[in-house]
């Protein structure tokens, strides 16, 4: 499919060029297509016929369409929509904490670019994508659609999304878990600056509901490194009480707390089979997307949060 981009703000042609070969595939589909893989657990999955594909050794025998064989004396397998078509729900945290930027690009801006790129990737593989922008509550939502035009709508939503104080990640996750009827991809892009237990409860709710959950946690480089020196007054973006202190004295405890937080999230996501990717806002989008896709394909592989 050739890249024909409408005029959008958050789709970078260079990035899209680099991720042109990537496909966001449901893990269950991936598992089913693997040669010699584990028994598929497609039971209960929708089986609407989509199209035929020439038989390849290793394809399940029961998937062979014998009628086509009778007519053509060649083997073709049936592909069902349920195996290839999924809904992707991209959730963007637009709370104030996402507005932090040490450079030109805030976490929210980065998340927008990331969301747009994921949306494009999903649409390109003719799947449906929807977008929900939330903070303490859902501010804007677009149900999944598969038309390429939906990218314009997504872009519009991203453009008007402004950070607002307070966030309620866990509540949004629970709500979405309640809303979704069919198994979907849920991509959460958030800094996850909330209670870990609450966040994991929400994510687990989605996971246990059978959805594929991907968590991308963009953090600013300063949040990851804490390079401050001297006396600083830190003013919370979500209404926290400011703190004036000497940065050198804060650094060690801050980094310890942050790493512990990140490690906990990573560990619990792994335990819940949730793909988790930590990135900083300086990292190229294509590299992040590749990491996300790679984790989809190698769930037992690298899962260490990327900390620069």
């Amino acid at each position: 499919m050739s890249i024909h981009l409408p005029e959008t703000q958050y789709l970078d042609p260079e990035v899209l060029q680099k991720i042109g070969d990537l496909e966001l595939i449901a893990r269950e589909v991936v598992q089913g297509l693997r040669a010699g893989s584990h028994r598929s657990n497609l039971r209960g999955f929708s089986t609407e016929f989509a199209h035929h594909r020439q038989y390849s050794p290793g394809d399940p025998i029961r998937a062979i369409d014998w009628r086509v064989f009778g007519r053509t004396e060649r083997y073709f397998t049936k592909l069902y929509e349920a195996e290839t078509n999924f809904d992707c729900h991209i959730l963007i945290d637009a709370s104030s904490s996402m507005a932090y930027a040490s450079g030109k690009v805030s976490k929210l801006e980065y998340a927008k670019f990331l969301a747009a790129s994921i949306a494009y990737m999903v649409l390109k593989q003719r799947d449906s994508v929807g977008l929900t922008v939330f903070d303490a509550e859902v501010r804007d939502s677009l149900p999944p659609r598969s038309s390429m035009n939906v990218i314009l709508e997504i872009d519009r939503m991203l453009r008007i999304a402004e950070p607002r104080p307070k966030t309620a990640i866990a509540k949004q996750l629970h709500d979405i878990a309640m809303i979704l009827k069919r198994r979907s991809f849920v991509v959460l892009i958030s800094d996850l600056f909330a209670d870990v237990d609450d966040v994991m409860a929400g994510l687990d709710h989605l996971k246990f509901a059978g959805h594929n959950v991907v968590v991308v946690q963009p953090l600013d480089a300063y949040e990851l490194e804490f390079p401050f020196k001297g006396t600083w007054r830190f003013e919370g973006l979500e209404g926290e009480e400011p703190l004036t202190s000497e940065a050198e004295r804060l650094k060690e405890s801050y980094l310890a707390g942050l790493h512990k937080f990140l490690d906990e999230i990573n560990t619990r996501c792994m335990g819940s089979h949730i793909d988790y990717t930590l990135t900083d806002t300086k990292r190229p989008l294509d590299a992040v997307l590749r990491e996300i896709i790679l984790k989809r394909e190698n769930p037992g592989g690298t899962s260490t949060p990327s900390r620069s």
């Binding site: 003013e235 919370g236 973006l237």
Partner: protein, 725 residues
């Protein structure tokens, strides 16, 4: 408190820098929005008040360190007990005035006053800190600054003290306090001390002038004054005079010299041997049976002259505890003969009488020793004056201007002129040519002839009170009745010039009979009476021959024969410019000094200033020419070596702040007690460094203090988010 480098205090303005930095830093708390507040440990929050207190503390430390450093560089100093709690070093600038006059040489070998003075100086120097300024002034004659504001160094000081010696000069104290005040003023020190090390001679210290006391008080406003007496015994004999009394300085002749010995001590001395040496050879000795305390006795020494030329004569006594004044020196220029030319304007009478007076001995030896020729005054123009040593003008009516010039030149060359009045003398002519101006030939202007007879027609006698003049000495030995036999009926009024000196006068008034003046290297005598017996009966009495012979002997002498005193300027003079441009003086110790010959008042002179050794100097116009000895003696005023007692000294300075230290122990104690001036720059420097170190350590600690010290060690770091929410 004072500062030795007060300009450094300006650097204290630099204290504005840390204050400025503090003020600027107050507004430099940076701010930022922050999303990850949950991970910041609020326990390490620094409140603004903490920041203020921290900054103020560091500011105070920095300012203190800077101020202390500025103080240290400005070198603060204290006097007295002020701020005694601040540690410091006792330092002072020291001026040592060491009496080096020849009285300090009194004493046994190794225990002379000067030796003890050097020991006291060693005590003083032992208390001086390295680097402190020290000045050493040697008093006596021309003062010598051995060291001037020298930064004290023991080795260098010891080397200087090795060269310090007493001089044969005297010491006048009046100007000393003022000089000490000047030296103290020049000294850059917070505390100053002046040490006067002297033998406190009675002649100087018993009756100090009010000016001295006032000046000393002025010195005390600048410095602590220490008087360090090094007294000695009062016993001392000194040869105070040696002079030609009578006789002739002619080869083959004998001259009578008189030596005077004074007993400066407090007890009589008996059997004092006085020895006379000529060119080092003893030719006579006399014994003085007894010299009472404080009294002087004279002895006559007869000196035969076997050779012509300059002859060195000394009179010595046995060595006592002060040797410098045990010898007296003089020089006699012995001639083969003395030629006297008498220019007679009286028709022959004057010439006969003068010849007879000069040839009074009447023997063949006397004929050989001198020649006296008498010529009429009209024959004077044709006379070669270079053949004569003394010219006598007796009743010469007048001479031409050229003849006056000729006579003046004659005298300037070192010869003598004797002028007699007379009936034929034309006063106006003489006044016109010979009495006008400072370089006039005659000592006095001529007036009119006046009678000096009394009512009964007897003339006036000579005034028995005579000056201490070589010419008068024989007359002083005459009995008064013999002296009074000489009567003067008439005299020519003479108005002495300012440069003249009245040698003889008539009794009962100021009428001069004999005037003298120096002209160049010679002298001129001028009588207000005649040589012949028309105005007086002098020729008929012993006075005339004694006077004439003494005058001729005196006039025939040279300047070299007149002894000089230590400190005097030795002079060589020439009528015409000598061949050499420099004169050479050899000192008694063998040192050769070259001085240039300069023109001065129609003469050419070479001056050697400040003859600082006692002995015979040799003076010559060039290295090749024959040397003339010049006798230099000590000034025997210094021979009175009696010193003030301890009680007298204390009484003299009662009520003043002068500290009197009698011995080495007392001196050391006095220095320790009174030296309270301290400098504390090291203390302030160390304090500044300490404060700087504290400031650095404190700043570092405040900056780098770990949050874990302030946080609860039992709470996991992840719960910080909950804690801080």
């Amino acid at each position: 408190m004072s500062f030795l480098n007060p300009w450094f205090l300006l650097a204290g303005l630099g204290i504005a820098l840390p204050i400025l930095a503090h003020l600027l830093n107050r507004f430099q708390v940076q701010r930022t929005d922050w999303a990850a507040m949950r991970f910041l440990d609020r326990a390490v929050r620094v409140r603004s008040r903490q920041l203020k207190l921290r900054d103020i503390l560091l500011l105070i430390l920095r300012c203190l360190a800077l101020l202390l450093l500025v103080f240290a560089l400005a070198r603060p100093a204290w006097k007295g007990d002020a701020a005694s709690w601040i540690p410091g070093e006792k330092r002072a600038g020291v001026v040592i005035a060491l009496d080096a006059s020849f009285s300090m040489e009194e004493g046994e070998a190794g225990q002379k006053r000067f030796d003890r003075a050097l020991k006291q100086a060693a005590v003083i120097s032992g208390k001086i800190q390295p680097g402190d300024p020290v000045t050493l002034l040697l008093l006596g004659g021309k003062e010598r600054l051995v060291s001037h504001n020298m930064a004290f160094d023991q080795g260098r000081w010891d080397a200087l003290m090795q060269e310090v010696k007493a001089t044969p000069a005297t010491l006048e104290w009046d100007g000393v306090p003022k000089r000490l005040a000047e030296l103290a003023e020049e000294m850059d020190a917070s505390a100053k001390e002046i040490y006067i090390v002297t033998d406190t001679q009675q002649r100087d210290w018993k009756n100090l002038s009010p000016e001295f006391h006032a000046a000393l008080k002025g010195v005390q406003s600048q410095a602590r004054v220490f008087l360090v007496p090094v007294p000695g015994t009062a016993a001392n004999l000194a040869v105070t005079n040696l002079e030609l009394v009578s006789g002739t300085l002619r080869k083959g002749g004998v001259a009578r010299y008189q030596a005077t010995v004074r007993n400066c001590g407090t007890e009589s001395v008996s059997n004092v041997d006085v020895r006379c040496r000529v060119e080092g050879t003893q030719i006579d000795s006399k014994k003085i049976p007894l010299i009472a305390a404080g009294a002087s006795e004279t002895v006559s020494l007869f000196v035969p002259f076997h050779n012509a030329g300059a002859t060195r004569i000394t009179a010595e006594i046995s060595a006592d505890t002060l040797e410098a004044d045990n010898i007296r020196r003089t020089v006699a220029v012995v001639r083969d003969r003395v030629s006297v030319l008498c220019v007679d304007g009286s028709g022959g009478d004057a010439g006969r009488l003068i010849t007879a007076a000069l040839m009074a001995r009447g023997d063949a030896a006397a004929m050989e020793e001198s020649t006296v020729r008498s010529i009429p005054w009209l024959a004077f123009p044709a006379e070669d004056l270079s053949k004569s040593d003394v010219i006598v003008l007796a009743d010469v009516p007048e001479v031409t201007e050229e003849q006056i010039a000729q006579l003046a030149r004659f005298v300037r060359e070192g010869n003598g002129l004797i002028w007699f009045a007379g009936d034929d003398v034309k006063a106006a002519s003489w006044n016109k040519h010979a009495t006008a101006g400072d370089n006039a030939l005659l000592p006095g202007a001529l007036g009119s002839v006046v009678s000096t007879s009394d009512a009964i027609g007897a003339g006036k006698p000579l005034d028995p009170a005579m000056p201490d003049h070589t010419v008068c000495q024989p007359l002083q030995s005459l009995a008064e009745d013999l002296l009074s036999e000489t009567r003067f009926l008439k005299c020519l009024e003479l108005k002495p010039a300012s440069s003249s000196f009245t040698v003889l006068r008539l009794a009962g008034g100021d009428t001069p009979v004999l005037l003298e003046k120096s002209l160049g290297r010679g002298q001129v005598f001028q009588f207000s009476t005649t040589a012949q017996a028309t105005w007086n009966n002098m020729a008929l009495t012993p006075v005339f021959p004694m006077l004439m012979q003494q005058m001729v002997t005196y006039l025939a002498g040279r300047e070299f024969e007149r002894p000089q005193t230590v400190g005097d300027t030795l002079t060589l003079s020439f009528v015409e410019q000598p061949d050499a441009s420099d004169a050479v003086f050899d000192s008694p110790s063998g040192e050769t000094l070259t001085v240039p010959v300069r023109e001065y008042r129609d003469q050419f002179v070479a001056l050697m200033e400040n003859a600082d050794e006692a002995g015979f100097y040799l003076a010559r116009v060039s290295v090749q020419s024959a040397a003339m000895p010049v006798a230099v003696n000590v000034d025997t005023r210094e021979s009175d070596v009696a010193c003030l007692s301890k009680e007298e000294l204390t009484e003299r300075f009662k009520g003043s702040d002068v500290i009197i230290a009698e011995d080495e122990v007392a001196l050391a104690a006095a220095i320790d007690t009174t030296r309270t001036g301290r400098t504390s720059w090291r203390f302030f420097l160390l304090a500044a460094l300490a404060f700087l170190l504290i400031e650095c350590l404190l700043a570092d600690r405040l900056m780098r203090r770990k949050g874990a010290d302030a946080a609860d060690p039992t709470m996991p770091a992840g719960d910080l988010g909950k804690q801080n929410a």
